[in-house]
């Protein structure tokens, strides 16, 4: 492991771990990975997924930075009044600036689960240094086939009926109440930024995705059953954006038996392996695709 604890940032001191490649042959043009918080989980990721991803990427010859957004994990809280989304966009940019300054990276892959995917999407839309996106459970939109699959699965699944019957019998016997009692949070302080996940319109997301494809951004998208209210079959992502020409730039995986935070060890293993395989297919770029002005160097040097 070649990892270094770092701090950087302009409006708040952000903490992260910079992981250098351990592979013998490293191509300078390879993108660096930026791993973003999932919800309020700190930078190690859900069930430590980001640590395992970072180390798998190191073995593949990639640099990565996993860091905490302001107010999460080990990072300070911002003192300005930026919204959660605006703060995250700014901090992703600062993270890229930092890795560019510290390691000379010119291109980046942004990776995130749930809100991490949302922030990766927003940041990619405004920064031409992004060459790849790896989303787990991003914004998704139902299609006709979604509804067909949804009802077909329920009608023909014996478990659904068994479960329905079991719950009702247990309710009749008084073993479980009809509704789970709300947990008191009176004495619990959630001292973390507020983020309510709202899906933008499908058209807005389609417009961004079309832009990503024009910029030749490569995408790997993984869906779990945690998104079953929005997503239930592998091809839904492409189908829900028929106006976007993804061509071979998009790869999608669907894990119908995985929960949202990927607690199953075999699913974790699959995601780590799949990301490492996919990373090797993100094209090496020799120069920035455009000259979009960026903030110059990172504000902090390596400790």
């Amino acid at each position: 492991v070649k990892e270094q604890a770092i701090q950087f940032g302009k409006s708040a001191m952000l903490s992260g771990i910079l992981a250098d490649p351990t592979a013998e042959e490293v191509d300078d043009g390879r993108p660096a990975f930026i791993l973003l918080n999932s919800g309020i989980l700190h930078r190690v990721g859900s069930c430590r997924l980001h640590v395992r991803l970072a180390r798998a990427l190191s073995r593949q010859g990639f640099t990565s930075l996993r860091f905490d957004f302001s107010g999460m994990g080990d990072s300070e809280t911002r003192r300005d009044n930026l919204s959660f989304e605006d703060a995250c966009r700014s901090e992703v940019r600062e993270a890229m600036d930092f890795v560019a300054s510290a390691r000379g990276a010119r291109h980046f892959v942004l990776l995130g689960l749930c809100s991490g995917a949302d922030m990766a999407h927003l940041a990619a839309a405004e920064d031409d240094r992004v060459a790849g996106l790896m989303f787990i459970d991003p914004w998704a939109y139902r299609t006709r086939r979604y509804w067909f699959t949804h009802y077909a699965q329920r009608v023909f699944k014996a478990d659904v009926w068994k479960n329905w019957a079991r719950i009702r019998v247990r309710r009749m016997l008084g073993e479980i109440s009809a509704r789970r009692p709300a947990q008191s949070t009176e004495s619990v302080t959630y001292d973390v930024p507020k983020y309510v996940r709202e899906f933008p319109s499908r058209e807005t997301v389609a417009r961004d995705l079309a832009g990503f494809m024009r910029r030749d951004i490569r995408m790997l998208v993984v869906f779990t059953a945690g998104m079953v209210d929005h997503y239930n079959h592998a091809s839904q992502y492409r189908r829900s954006f028929p106006e976007v020409d993804f061509s071979d730039r998009l790869q999608v995986e669907f894990l119908p038996t995985s929960d949202h935070i990927i607690t199953n060890l075999a699913h974790q293993e699959f995601v780590v392996r799949r990301v490492a395989e996919w990373a090797a297919t993100v094209p090496v770029r020799t120069s920035p695709r455009s000259t979009t002005p960026q903030d110059t160097a990172a504000t902090a040097a390596l400790r």
Binding site: M13, H42, V44, C47, G73, D74, E186, S187, T189, I261
Partner: protein, 265 residues
């Protein structure tokens, strides 16, 4: 706040050192020992806030990730209970070196408390030990984790028996090996040897006769033990779909007060 790696270069441990508030400055270090698995995820931000409060009270504070957890080296499947106990000892030495202090207090939450008792119960440089909702029985803890994992309210605890289930099992997203389960199976907090005179606080978030009885058990060995219940909401082991944090401020403040009183300032 200084994040750092320490220990061996082959298998470094991640830690964060919080220097004391300059105006108060005590010559005492406090080591914070996290719980494990999902409990670690839920406790992470609370430990940061806890460390900040302690540093404002003048303590040198260190919190760290055990081998195979958090940002430290290793995979969870390579970790052992013995290694975690060694890590606590290593972190105490690192805290003393970083802070330039000779005297240390150790605070551990849940399994972190029980491991802290094993690791430093007989060290003569540790003056205070705070066991926060500590695990009393490793056997019951393993059974509890397995029940949570299975999602079966009435699952038999014996299903967790390491002699019956030999494979590494994933418990709420984290691998628990047979070796870890075996080591925990035989771990009883009441049986841990603590040196006479060690100031030990057992602090719980819900009244528990079994925890309260530790005062007498440890007291019989000459330990200066006390008990405190600070009623607080929250289940450390709860897992929801999105992950969540628990920051029980009252209990944190109570521990800061205890350590401030015991260290004489």
């Amino acid at each position: 706040m200084n994040p750092l790696y320490f220990g061996t270069s082959e298998e470094p441990l991640f830690g964060v050192y919080h220097p004391p508030h300059a105006e108060i400055g005590r010559e005492v270090g406090v080591l914070l020992c996290y719980p494990m698995g999902q409990e670690y995820m839920r406790a992470h931000r609370a430990f940061r806030q806890f460390a900040l409060l302690l540093s404002r009270a003048g303590f040198h504070v260190m919190r760290f990730d055990y081998f195979g957890t958090g940002d430290s080296a290793g995979d969870g499947s390579e970790a052992t209970v013995e290694r975690w106990v060694e890590d606590i000892a290593c972190a105490i030495d690192e805290l003393k070196d970083s802070a330039g202090v000779e005297r240390v207090a150790v605070v551990g939450l849940r399994l972190g408390g029980t491991l802290a008792a094993v690791a430093c119960g007989n060290r003569d440089d540790v003056d205070q030990l705070v066991l926060w909702d500590p695990i009393l029985s490793g056997k019951q803890y393993v059974a509890e984790l397995m029940r949570e994992h299975a999602g079966e309210v009435f699952a038999e605890p014996t299903a967790a028996d390491p002699e019956k289930e030999t494979a590494t099992v994933g418990v709420m997203g984290f691998p628990i090996t047979r070796r870890i389960r075996r080591a925990l199976w035989g771990l009883e907090l009441a049986g841990v040897s603590l040196r006479g005179g060690l100031q030990t606080l057992i602090v719980v978030s819900a009244e528990s006769e079994r925890h309260r009885s530790l005062v007498e058990t440890f007291g019989n060995s000459g330990v200066d033990a006390s008990f405190l219940c600070v009623a607080s909401e929250g289940n450390w082991n709860e897992v929801d779909d999105f992950g969540s944090a628990l920051i029980p401020q009252a209990i944190i403040r109570a521990i800061v007060n205890y350590l401030s009183e015991k260290t004489g300032q």
